[in-house]
Symmetry: C2
Subunit: 246 residues, 2 copies
């Protein structure tokens, strides 16, 4: 049994903690998975652990890592786990894995996040997309799909999701085979009968979709509300739209 690391100055601990930063995740092409659910989902879907930090009492993680004899498990004190993790009340283990590769658009229902900035909303949309079997596309101005907060809201769904980066400034050529549907707060259709795979455009929390992006869509979809003065959370609106368009 290795010694328990009790110092946050330990080089391995520091290298893991740095992955809370977007730039460091981009530089190393790796991400930080926190807690037992993400750990299990990641391994179940074939991700390879690079570094694992766990507390001494976390027998489940030790047992699971028996299948990965080449992976060194680093035991850490609860205080070190707290300091490394992004979560306020983190649970063991913390695992570093390679960031899954981005994919190409395909003929499949796809929810396209356009400037979604809140990691909790992005993660919830990813979770919903996975539940309904949709792909997730995202524009460059979105929050990092792989931040610890986004991963947490995704509740393990990230590892079941196909991610597609799309730059709408380069046009919508990539979506030419999709029925493009824009969600708008008011004035759109309340149901859309779409043929073929759908690309569902979801705008930012603050501003919704820009008019230029709405103009790219064949249909505008509005979720009817009791009062037009009210609003829906963006992840809620996306979920209702995905469910309606299934």
């Amino acid at each position: 049994m290795p010694d328990v690391i009790t110092s946050t100055k330990n080089e391995t601990v520091k290298s893991v903690a740095r992955l809370k930063r977007t730039k460091e995740r981009a530089r190393t092409a790796s991400i930080l998975v926190e807690g037992p659910n993400g750990f299990t989902e990641a391994l179940d879907t074939g991700m390879e652990p690079l570094i694992v930090l766990a507390t001494e009492d976390d027998a489940a993680t030790r047992t699971r890592l028996d299948d990965y004899p080449a992976v060194a498990l680093h035991l850490v004190s609860p205080a070190v786990l707290d300091s490394v993790a992004d979560a306020v009340h983190p649970r063991s283990p913390l695992m570093v894995v390679r960031r899954p590769d981005d994919r190409e658009i395909r003929m499949h229902n796809t929810v396209l996040l356009v400037g979604v900035r809140d990691p909790g909303n992005a993660g919830t949309i990813i979770r919903t997309a996975a539940a309904f079997g949709w792909d997730v596309a995202y524009t460059p101005d979105c929050v990092d799909m792989w931040s610890p907060k986004t991963l947490r809201s995704g509740a393990g769904a990230h590892f079941h999701t196909r991610f597609v980066p799309i730059d709408l400034n380069e046009g919508v050529e990539a979506l030419s085979a999709h029925t493009v549907v824009a969600t708008v707060v008011a004035g759109g259709e309340t149901t859309v009968d779409a043929v073929g795979p759908i690309a569902l455009l979801i705008g930012s929390e603050a501003h919704g979709l820009d008019s230029e992006h709405v103009a790219m869509a064949a249909h505008r979809l509005t979720i009817e509300m009791a009062s037009s003065a009210k609003s829906l959370n963006v992840a809620v609106a996306a979920a209702i739209a995905m469910h309606d368009l299934r």
Copy 2:
């Protein structure tokens, strides 16, 4: 123009900061509303400000308070605002108002939160309920509907919502005129044709509804997913159910 309060030891500042605690909100029957949107929604719906803290540059709040000559506006430094507010990046103003009274159940569509523990989920459900014109009922083991985090996720919807406390341990007499629908992860109906007002039961994030609560329902509703291994966020599931049952 009054002096700007720069000390977190100021008695008014301390009394406002204490309202981040559930017990203090219960003891004083008052709540803390943070940021310009909540401030505006609360006043627009007739709430009376008791105490307002604002930063010096917040002219909009000063102007709005001209209609309330009896209310003292306390100017505070940005550091004091930060320390008093619950939000990580708070915006001026902070306002104390009386906690709106709980109400009785009525013949109206009602979403009933049973042990929902996450303030973000509770707030999002409140926001959705307000958008669709539903009342919100909640059991005693739910998170405080009026915590700063719940208010934040509610995005102003709290002041448009009728709140009804319900203790299911005392039976469901109160719901005898409603069609009670329980949301379950699997095995329920995928559509429900309900007559009369609906009481939609939503369970906790961790466990869903207890079987004894499911047994109280005339219908069990399941949202179809691509794979039974997946799951939906509780606020997303509530939103899809409310939208489907509208």
